[in-house]
């Protein structure tokens, strides 16, 4: 290889690196600008949010104060909304992890009659979107007097065919030796599951936890059908009420949106490194 060829290759590598950075920064601006607009706007007086929205001032916190947050919290009972969402989401995520992993594990590790049929059923059910059956489910719920209750918001969202499938394929790919050894030592099925299989399945649990946390925190359709009462209303629905009920103050709107987004943002930032790792290992792809 000649010296010229080598140096031109190095120059190409440098150009590629500069190109990567330029792209990253340009795309980064497209993604960061609306987020920055949200954060800055939440601290600005409502009238300025609009009048300054079309220039660089949109990203400058003029007349910054905490007034919007105070108004959001007092006028729209934001803490009630947040607390409701935490209760609903927390219950769905935690009980979902237990219930979906149990059946996923049984499908992967136990031999029993009807296993293949059950597996097919799970795959078929994963295709049925919840939205398509929302109306009959709503009728069931009203029949049982569960409208405007936490159980009404929670129960239909716990078992999830897609998460079951994720657990199933993860357990299937996991080496079985440790569990066999524990079994020979006399541990019962639940014991083997709890103390051997679960600790080894961290990535699958992390992935399902994040997916299910994001989707129940962001759920809009089901709470809007199930609740007309502020005492159980969730934050996403709350936001759409705040957005559309006069007097509309865009500063207050953005402040409530920011408060609604903060918990998920924090959870994600804490877990994000693990999430991308575990997405890779949990067989989600």
């Amino acid at each position: 290889m000649t010296v010229i060829a080598r140096s031109s290759r190095r120059a190409r590598a440098r150009r590629a690196r500069v190109g990567t950075w330029v792209l990253l920064i340009l795309i980064g601006i497209v993604f960061a600008a609306p987020l920055l607009f949200l954060i800055v706007g939440a601290f600005k007086p409502g009238t300025l949010v609009l009048t300054e929205a079309s220039s660089w001032r949109a990203f400058w916190p003029s007349h910054a104060s905490l007034n919007n947050f105070a108004t959001a919290i007092t006028r729209s009972q934001l803490f009630t909304l947040l607390l409701n969402t935490i209760i609903v989401t927390g219950t769905i995520v935690l009980s979902g992890l237990v219930i979906n992993s149990l059946i996923g594990y049984a499908l992967a590790r136990f031999r029993f009659r009807g296993r293949r049929f059950l597996l097919l059923l799970i795959v078929a059910l994963a295709v049925v979107p919840f939205q398509a059956i929302a109306i009959p489910t709503l009728l069931e719920m009203s029949q049982w007097g569960l409208r405007n209750t936490y159980p009404g918001l929670i129960l239909p969202m716990i078992a999830n065919a897609f998460y079951i499938y994720l657990f199933y394929s993860f357990f299937l790919a996991m080496p079985v030796e440790l569990e066999e050894a524990a079994r020979v030592d006399g541990a019962g099925p639940l014991r083997v599951f709890r103390s051997i299989a679960v600790p080894l399945a961290g990535p699958a649990f992390a992935t399902v936890a994040i997916l299910s946390f994001m989707s129940s925190w962001g759920e809009l359709l089901w709470p809007s059908l199930m609740t007309d009462d502020i005492t159980v209303r969730t934050i996403q629905l709350g936001i759409s009420v705040i957005r559309s009920s006069p007097p509309i103050n865009q500063g207050v709107v953005l402040a409530s949106v920011l408060l609604a987004a903060l918990p998920v943002m924090v959870v994600f930032i804490v877990l994000q490194r693990r999430f991308i790792e575990s997405a890779a290992r949990s067989g989600i792809k």
Partner: protein, 307 residues
Amino acid sequence: MTTHDLTRAVRPRPIRTGGGAALAAWLFNAPALVLLLIFLAVPFGLAIFFSFTNFRLGSPLPLRFVGVENYTSLFSDAEFLQAFANNVIFAVVVVPVQCALALGLAILVNQKIRGIAFFRALFFMPVVLGGAVVSTIWFILMDPSYGLLNGLLRAATFGQLHLRWLQDPNTALASIIVICIWGSVGFQMVILLAGLQDIPSDLYEAAQLDGAGTWAQFRSITLPGLRNTIVFVVTMTTIFAFRLFDQVFVLTHGGPLGSTNTMLLELVKVGYDQQLIGRACAIAVVFFLAVVAFTLLQRRVIKEDES
């Protein structure tokens, strides 16, 4: 999850067989099965059943079978047909564009550069925020008189160009598409990134030694290596595309002039606001069949592409 796993005869190494295993298995299965039965299988059956009836909440008329009347009246209803068409247009545009962008982003953030974790998190952040939050931000950015987007347009065209974005029937669906892609491309990016990281890096090193350029490496290593991941991402994006609801519910309620109406939004209007359960269930069945048909069609196209 890949089609591969589904079609291959999966034979696990069971650690438990025999009578005790069956008992344990059904104990493990029971909670999820009961919930799936009550909240998925039964409502699904009810939806099919009601779709052939005149069921209406608070109606004095007795429940009776009306055959396929709900279906025939749906397909002669301009409002529903427009919603159906909007779903198809949305899917046809969003699925390829979003998947291609996601692949580009995944390759970009798969570079080994300091600080790349920041960009990964940044591109994924809109997914974390969720549809309602993202829509609320973009509603202000797309405001016809004050919004940042028109500010930029005016600056770039010396005040000549100025769009009404979500308020104009000609641009509303396109605006929704932009918002949706911005808000969810990070999800597909993460899955594709996970797929990229599974491709052994010595394959690239060997190709470089053989003098393969970037494009050749992409064609002969990256794409084949990502095959299953791409099939999964495309399928998932299709299903999500048909479920379009949050953004139009928050931003436009299907307007202006029905230009952003979708099947799900129509389902909620008919079933919840007008209480026409029979008709809403017919929409649900059509919606379900459309998702399945579109997904199968795509599988076909992807398979043919390969051979």
